[in-house]
Amino acid sequence: MFDTLSNRLQGAFQKLRGKGRLSEDDVKEAMREIRRALLEADVHYSVAKDFVDRIRERAIGQEILQSLSAAQQVVKIVNDELVELMGQSQAKLNRSSKSPTVVLMVGLQGAGKTTMSAKLARHLMLTEHRRPLLVAADVYRPAAIDQLQALGKQIGVSVFAPGTSVSPQEIARTALDEARRGGYDYVIIDTAGRLHVDESLMAELTEIDQITSADEILLVIDAMTGQDAVTVADHFHQQLKLTGVVLTKLDGDTRGGAALSVRHVTGCPVKFVGVGEKLDALEPFYPDRMASRILGMGDVLTLIEKAQASIDEQQVMQLEAKIRKNEFTFDDFLAQLQQIQKMGPLNQILGLLPGIGKIKQLQNESVDDRQLKKVEAIILSMSKEERIKPELISKSSSRRLRIASGSGTHVRDVNQLLRQFEDMRKLMKQLSGMGKSMKGLGGPGGGLGGLGGLPGSMKGGPGAFAGGFGKRGKKRR
């Protein structure tokens, strides 16, 4: 359904080859594509319009840099502008000079306020070494208080919950006393979800703000929100003077254009994003990554970080040496497989790669972690000797049969893996002849280029994984 902006622009600029400068007509078509990308990402249509106008001004008359194609160059301008719009650097949580700091969590129903409150509390406690107090002020939704209490218990944070018979205003007031008495330095108030057009409930929030003089009022917004994000954010901001935004459910496959709309309307920075149901699934907000995501350009930075966090550099070095000497065995392959799996679900990893969305659609592949498991099982069913000398298996049908039954697969699966392994070895031989190109994840031309072949190879085994992830050349952007 979604094509990447870079691919589309590439098409729009085909006829441009050889020109040194972008003309107005060239730019016009490109702008249509940019607008399309933004709208598909749920950026508000008027925000998209303003944005495109600004880009147009910047793009017309631009010299085409030697190193970049016209399409790449426009994408770069768009990307820069997006990052700027979303706030250059990441913003931290406010802190009051006078303890406790009061954080008010507000938003529509189902945005994820209660879960996010617990995640923030956990973050404050573990990474900033604070003593947070969670406050259950949602007296309307059935079992909302139970939910916050259960979460508090999981993370070991106290929950102040006087119950549903007390007004939220009163709960907020007494929570402050409780925090001072108990020596808590952060008070996180979980309020009930409400519609921005519900006047009495919005007034309730204003009162809680006045009572607690909150230092931070965070609008919790679902990353999947559509065009209405602008209206919602605007109403909340008008009434409450928001200080920040938290984006939830960003682990879905939404492009999250709501982030841009909300930022545009409120001018408030996005401070955190929620990326999963577990309570440690909280990340700081990176404007540059969000920009790539909205444009459908993948999120290479996150991928590199994931790779760096889960891959053992020494192992990579050894592997590189082996590949050079053409000694790559099934044991090495297995080790690599396991490293890949440590990076997280394959789907998620692929989602971070530029252009993959499109390839997946084209081939209608379901990228499945079980395929990896299957390959792993086959290798584990080989003897030590067989793993080093795969030709033993190719020569003997009884070995193949044994491996197939040992791994619960079919002989054809074993054959397929053997074939792919052989192809991979050949490819490696060629690549290692090219020297430097093997050096890890350096840039799109290096390791990532190798990964580009990944979805196609998923039917049988992760052949293209052999590219290897290195640590060198990481911060290239």
Binding site: G112, R141, Q147, H196, G226, Q227, D253, T254, N347, D368
Partner: protein, 315 residues
């Protein structure tokens, strides 16, 4: 207040926001490129989505030429007709199998099982509470199964709703196997001769393979225990959701054969245009709309009312 009025009230904001723009765009102007561009904006701002918007505009262009329309406001009835055609086609297609105003398919001879699915925070549990109440008002014997064993206090939440609606609930503790809970609930529903069993499930993002696998398992268990079940799989969609709603519908349809959509939170300013996009691309009917937090705030979706309400102020 009648059902129709209530739906209209809930849609009033939708209608106003949408129609105001359409009206502004179309009144007494000659049909030119600008008109279409602005009309495009109006549809996009209602979350109709690019593809469906493109489709509608193509149709408009053709009709305008064929009927030799001159001023822009003549386009309104055409646009309404087109949208109605997309939305109504879907609801008509399921009329043959429903036996009541709630447009839910019932097994006449035994237990009807309804599976309720969706991403996190769309209002599945609340919808089940309201649905249980509505079906009970129709005289059905209703039971609910607390299949969200993941989220903290989801079971307690459903218990409160079951209490309010006055129906039995089958539950285990948080962390137990969801398919096992549903299995038990089916056994209990058979033993107690219930007419309808409503099965809650944990919210899951459609791109999480393992969670979708779990849902598939739940589906299999239901299909094995009751022939022909689940008779309905209702996908709950939040009306504020943008284009991601279409992917949600697609992927949930793949795993759990969605038979209908419940569009929740339509009482806000969200325009619900995603309904049109889903109708066009997936042909899944919208069966109910959620218009508030009270027991009775769930209403059957009516294509007629929807299309009419959307353009009320224009004609």
């Amino acid at each position: 207040m009648g059902l129709f009025d209530k739906l209209k009230l809930g849609l009033a904001k939708t209608r106003r926001a949408f129609s105001d723009r359409v009206e502004m765009v179309l009144r007494r102007r000659r049909i030119d490129e600008d008109v279409f561009e602005e009309l495009e904006d109006a549809l996009l701002s209602a979350d109709v989505g690019l593809d469906t918007t493109g489709f509608l505009l193509d149709r408009l262009t053709k009709e305008a030429r064929r009927e030799k329309l001159e001023t822009a406001d003549q386009l309104i009835p055409v646009l309404r007709r087109e949208i109605h055609a997309i939305v109504a086609a879907r609801t008509d297609s399921v009329k043959s199998v429903s036996d009541s105003m709630t447009s839910l398919y019932y097994d006449q001879n035994g237990l009807t099982v309804v599976l309720v699915v969706g991403v996190n925070g769309v209002g599945k549990t609340t919808t089940i509470g309201k649905l249980a109440y509505a079906l009970k008002q129709e005289g059905k014997r209703v039971m609910v199964a607390a299949g969200d064993t993941f989220r903290a206090a989801a079971i307690e939440q459903l218990s409160v709703w079951a209490d309010r609606a006055g129906v039995d609930i089958i539950k285990q503790t948080t962390g137990s196997d969801a398919a096992a809970v549903i299995f038990d609930a089916i056994e209990a529903a058979k033993a107690r001769r219930a007419d309808v069993l409503l099965c809650d499930t944990a919210g899951r993002l459609q791109n999480k393979a393992h969670l979708m696998d779990e849902l598939e398992k739940i589906y299999r268990v239901i299909a094995r225990e009751v022939p022909g079940a689940p008779h309905e799989t209702l996908l709950v969609l939040d009306a504020t959701t943008g284009q991601n709603a279409i992917i949600q519908a697609k992927l949930f349809q793949d795993v759990a054969k969605v038979t209908g959509i419940v569009l929740t939170k339509l009482d806000g300013t969200a325009k619900g245009g995603v309904v049109i996009a889903i109708g066009k691309e997936l042909k899944i009917p919208v069966k109910w709309v959620g218009l508030g937090e009270r027991l009775e705030d769930l209403q059957p979706f009516s294509a007629d009312d929807f299309a009419t309400a959307l353009f009320d102020s224009l004609s």
